[in-house]
């Protein structure tokens, strides 16, 4: 019995085709314009909700489409190939909001939060990072103080993807300042909670059609029922969520990488210098061969990690996939832009946008340095 098969199964292949068609027909038109105007593609996301792409990891009991994780990374890859901004918006809503709520939430919380997320009626967001705590997430300072049946949250969250468009924010706050990371609790904060405010959107280098903004929690009142899991479990939930969500970012990097190869190949075949298409020069061929090889390495690592999610080495595999895929995609975009020569530096060519978009993949959901630490921790533990 062969249990090695690198092909997607029939359902996964069907999904891939459907998502690719949607990305090319519905997302591709206007992608450059949206990036220029920072126009958030709310309409596209609603359509994705209707297609089931915003509840891919949620069970059908809450309206989700309950895909396996390999299907999920395939879908994110296809969206990222056309628009990395839409891909991160989708990945965040699925992976760092719907997924942890489905995984750790009780029936009541799941019933209130998941249906509007999976239908695309609203989006989800994740509030872990703060101005003073990035990689050192356990050092967060947002506090939550019990007040009767409620909790009162105070603090500031930074770099929140989907801020302002999300209906729910999964916010990590300290409920016991003495207990270190064990004093952190996860709260589902509805967008209309009193005392919650969204700050000025960040002016970013890339992913301009995705929204990133700070969150201000000023005596923000949240019901005790909105705790995800139990009090003090927040850091564990955050780490488990990041183990999972790295797969989405790895897939985003693979999608960008795929597009960079396509753009480089097309340009190299059409651009003539020294009397021949530049694709005939070895210097160009070798760069394309390298990009194409690293693309397959990144893709196979990402899908393998998705396949092994939840197993004992799943966290290491996800960190490795995210590390490799993001670094490789950066190299590929660099090479693809180089192949475009001066034209690649012009906004008229798609590669210039990808080059900016890809840069963040080695930063968010854990920098490359954090992925290496996570990987080494697993390796040394034996």
């Amino acid at each position: 019995m062969a249990v090695i098969n690198f092909e997607l199964d029939e359902d996964q292949e069907l999904l891939r085709g459907e998502v690719r068609r949607f990305a090319e027909e519905r997302i591709a038109p206007g992608v450059a314009e949206r990036e220029r105007t920072h126009d958030f593609p709310a309409g596209i996301l609603r359509e994705m909700g209707e297609m089931g792409l915003l509840g891919m990891l949620v069970g059908e009991d809450y309206g989700g489409t309950a895909f396996d994780t390999v299907s999920y990374v395939v879908a994110v890859e296809e969206i990222a190939r056309i628009c990395p901004s839409v891909a991160v918006t989708m990945s965040v809503s699925n992976s760092v909001c719907a997924w942890p709520v489905y995984r750790f939430g009780g029936d009541d919380l799941r019933g209130r939060v998941l249906p509007p997320l999976v239908s695309g009626e609203t989006l989800g967001a994740f509030g872990l990072t703060e101005p003073g705590s990035g990689s050192d997430a356990g050092a967060l300072r947002t506090s939550a103080r019990r007040d009767g049946d409620d909790w009162v949250l105070n603090g500031e969250k930074a770099w929140i993807t989907n801020a302002g468009f999300a209906g729910f924010y999964l916010v990590m706050a300290k409920t016991d300042p003495e207990a270190g990371s064990r004093g952190i609790t996860a709260f589902v904060v509805p967008a209309d909670a009193p005392g919650l405010a969204v700050g000025q959107p960040e002016a970013k280098m890339g992913l301009k059609a995705s929204r990133t903004a700070p969150l201000m929690l000023n005596n923000c009142r949240v019901a005790n029922d909105n705790i995800l899991g139990v009090e003090g479990q927040g850091f564990k939930i955050a780490l488990a969520t990041l183990d999972h969500s790295r797969l989405g970012i790895a897939a985003q990097a693979v999608g960008i990488h795929q597009r960079a190869v396509e753009l480089a190949v097309a340009y190299a075949k059409e651009r003539v210098q020294f009397g021949v298409p530049i694709a005939q020069h070895q210097a160009i061929k070798f760069q394309i061969a390298q990009m194409a090889t690293e693309l397959e390495a990144a893709r196979v690592l990402t899908r393998y990690a998705a396949l092994r999610e939840g197993e004992s080495d799943g966290g290491r595999l996800a960190a490795q996939a995210k590390l490799y895929a993001s670094e490789a995609a950066n190299r590929a975009c660099y090479a693809a832009l180089q192949i475009h020569g001066g034209n690649g530096f012009s906004e008229e060519y798609e590669i210039s946008r990808l080059y900016r978009d890809v840069r963040v993949t080695t930063l968010y959901e854990g920098t490359s340095e954090m992925q290496r630490l996570v990987t080494a921790r697993h390796l040394l533990r034996g």
Binding site: V3, V261, A289, V300
Partner: protein, 380 residues
């Protein structure tokens, strides 16, 4: 998509690991230093079915698949890269073309003892003037009644010091270039077949690499593989499979070096703590592990494609390019983690570092792999 070894493959992996650690590993350093060809390893490996892992049992093989073959080569190479390449050549470059292109008679007479590990094979394509440009070979085969008369020189032939059988490529018509190239299976005891002296190399010192020269060597026409002029196609198809074996070898070398570095980093203390506590070392280990995993998956992907009768030249070239360069980086970092000790022969890591170097060169240099990949990607 599914990536998990099946029960048979897991058992094979355990068996080969035991053999590698108990039989091969204790002498790996010694044969690297002396250059002694480990013929007894091959004989014992043959008894375990490793002479022709993916050859059907009716022809003496183990009747397993290409993934199993990769698992076996990786496990052997993890302790001894010389032994790894000897087995890889016998499986990929000698058994495979006989199985795929040989007549029933050739399979019975030649493939069966090779796959059963009773005879050792080598692959004679490269010549002094024809390396990457294999079609430029000058070795000739002239028809003479029921025989061919073969003349010419081959170089860098793995296992040739001890092989009993050789797959030989010669041209029946030099003017026809690659269309004149023809493949033969030749017995080493045939008149006019001469082996050269031991080749001193940077690494894989025990792999029996030497020259072959053919002087009016008479080979019966029924030892021709395929038709006249099929040789280049046979060579290229065979090398696709060989690249999967070399990828597995590179993964094994890297895995061996990584394990030694991981263990050393936890034992070695500097500045009052084990060096594995330092981020610099942790980051090396993380990168090594990541690239090894990627290399193994690319290798299995190529093996899977071959097994499922897909076109797999691209996958094989990608696996070979990635794994060979990966092994170079990983063994280099493993040596670095060992510091000065790594530079001495007291530790295995300098051997891994030297052995890895050839994987970027033989069975098609990295540059040839890139040409294959670029052609596929640009045409696709």
């Amino acid at each position: 998509m599914q990536v998990q070894l099946n029960e048979e493959q897991v058992l094979l992996k355990e068996m080969v690991r035991r053999f590698a650690e108990e039989v091969v590993a204790p002498r790996a350093r010694e044969i690297d230093e002396t250059g002694e060809f480990p013929r007894e390893f091959f004989d014992q490996a043959g008894q375990l079915g490793l002479g022709g892992v993916a050859v059907p049992e009716e022809y003496g093989g183990a009747g397993m698949d290409t993934i199993s073959y990769c698992v076996a080569i990786e496990e052997i190479s993890r302790v001894c890269a010389s032994s790894g390449v000897i087995l890889s050549v016998n499986n990929s470059l000698v058994c495979d073309p006989l199985l795929k292109f040989g007549t029933e008679d050739q399979k019975k007479r030649f493939l069966t003892p090779l796959a059963a590990g009773q005879k050792l094979g080598c692959f004679a394509l490269t010549e002094p003037g024809a390396g990457s440009d294999a079609a430029a070979l000058r070795c000739t085969a002239k028809r003479d009644g029921d025989d061919y008369i073969i003349n010419g020189n081959k170089v860098f032939i793995t296992s040739a010091t001890h092989a009993e059988l050789a797959i030989v490529f010669a041209s029946v018509d030099l003017d026809a270039k690659h269309k004149g190239i023809t493949a033969f299976v030749v017995e080493a005891d045939c008149d006019g077949y001469k082996t050269g002296s031991h080749e001193y190399k940077l690494g894989v010192n025990a792999s029996g690499t030497t020259e072959l020269s053919f002087e009016d060597m008479r080979v019966p026409a029924d030892q021709r593989i395929g038709e006249e002029g099929d040789g280049f196609k046979i060579a290229m198809s065979t090398l696709d499979g060989g690249r999967v074996g070399i990828s597995a070898q590179a993964v094994g070398i890297a895995q061996g070096a990584f394990e030694e570095a991981l263990a050393y980093s936890q034992e070695r203390e500097q500045f009052g703590r084990s060096i594995s506590d330092f981020q610099a070392i942790q980051f090396y280990l993380a990168d090594m592990s990541t690239e090894i995993d990627a290399g193994r998956l690319l290798t299995w992907r190529a093996a899977w494609a071959k097994e499922n009768k897909k076109r797999y030249s691209l996958e094989a070239a990608q696996a070979k390019l990635f794994t060979s360069e990966m092994a170079q980086r990983v063994t280099n970092k493993a040596l670095q983690i060992h510091g000065g000790y790594g530079y001495t022969r007291e530790y295995n890591v300098e051997r891994y570092f030297r052995d890895a170097r050839i994987t970027e060169i033989y069975e098609g240099t990295s540059e040839i792999q890139k040409l294959v990949i670029a052609a596929a990607v640009l045409d696709g």
